[in-house]
């Protein structure tokens, strides 16, 4: 199991944060692949909403997208910020971990950092380092 990359999208689809881990052999580090990914997530959201047998009480529909080669885990906040992590397909659901990242890292070190202007690329030192050590501490990271 392993983590390939981690992304944060703002409500208008801009990629605010991108981090690629060494396990990713084909790089996604370019705006075109981000646009592609955002478009897919956005479309899937509508689709999963459409397919739902009943309305979701949490208002959330999309959790993950799995293929033979990778698995995309998604978490969308009420403010329409999307956290996405791509891993090995055997990795168990990381929805809760993404929620933790939102809750304890993004809100604390991005939102509450007055030097960060809302909408800017996220490069707050504290967030970047803490996120990195959090992701590295996940079991799915260690076993790569």
């Amino acid at each position: 199991m392993t983590i390939f990359n981690f992304l944060i999208f703002n409500p208008s689809g801009l990629c605010l944060y991108f981090k690629e881990f060494p396990a990713a052999t084909s790089s996604k580090n370019n705006p075109d692949s981000w646009k592609l990914m955002y478009g897919l997530l956005h479309g899937l959201k509508g689709f999963s909403q459409f397919m739902a047998p009943r309305p979701s009480p949490s208002g959330r529909y999309l959790r993950c997208l799995s293929t033979h080669e990778y698995k995309l885990h998604c978490f969308e906040t009420a403010t329409c910020v999307r956290f996405v992590i791509s891993t090995d397909p055997r990795t168990p659901d990381l929805h809760d971990q993404l929620a933790t990242i939102y809750n304890t890292l993004y809100v604390e070190y991005v939102i509450k950092n007055p030097l960060y202007k809302l909408g800017d690329r996220i490069d707050c030192e504290l967030f970047v380092t803490r996120l990195d050590s959090y992701l590295r501490s996940l079991p799915c990271f260690a076993s790569s």
């Binding site: 070190y109 509450k112 950092n113 030097l115 490069d123 504290l126």
Partner: protein
């Protein structure tokens, strides 16, 4: 000890409001120096009022050394949400208070567009508060603060003017 007051509110409110205050002064004043002066003055006023409040049930403090102790062990933990880590001195008029997780700045970190200097404006108001508290208790002191590498580690320097505090 100063108790918690009956009314509490979320620390996030204060943090975000303080951030707005800093940005207001930095944009409303012509120079950064004058913005800092204003913020320190505002903090001074707030510090005086808080000292007035928090000494009410504490008793009358008369010696500058007691004042320093009051600020360090009673006033600071309440106003800045946790006790500071250490109090040191190297002579009669210079004291250092170190707070390795200063809550008013602990979530700040620099971005590619900002520097530690931009973060340092968030220390001005707190310095004013401490200075105001000293002044309210009749100790004329200057209070400055610097980051120790990161904005969460702060070293406050307290410079006593006028009569020096005897070391014990």
């Amino acid at each position: 000890m100063i108790g918690r007051s009956e009314r509490m509110c979320s620390a996030a409110c204060l943090e975000l409001m303080h951030a707005e205050m800093v940005s207001y002064f930095l944009s409303a004043r012509e120079t950064r120096e004058s913005a800092q002066k204003e913020m320190e003055r505002l903090g001074f006023r707030v510090g005086q009022k808080l000292a007035e409040r928090y000494t009410k049930d504490y008793g009358r403090i008369t010696e500058p050394m007691e004042v320093l102790r009051f600020i360090f062990s009673d006033f600071w933990p309440v106003v800045f949400s946790k006790p500071p880590d250490s109090l040191t001195t190297n002579n009669n008029s210079l004291y250092y208070i170190e707070d390795t997780d200063f809550r008013w700045t602990s979530k700040i970190s620099v971005t590619s567009r900002t520097t530690l200097e931009d973060a340092s404006y968030f220390l001005t108001f707190p310095c004013g508060i401490v200075k105001g508290a000293f002044a309210a208790l009749d100790v004329d002191a200057d209070v400055k603060a610097d980051f120790q590498e990161t904005p969460s580690r702060c070293l406050f320097t307290i410079i006593f003017k006028g009569k020096a505090i005897p070391t014990r």
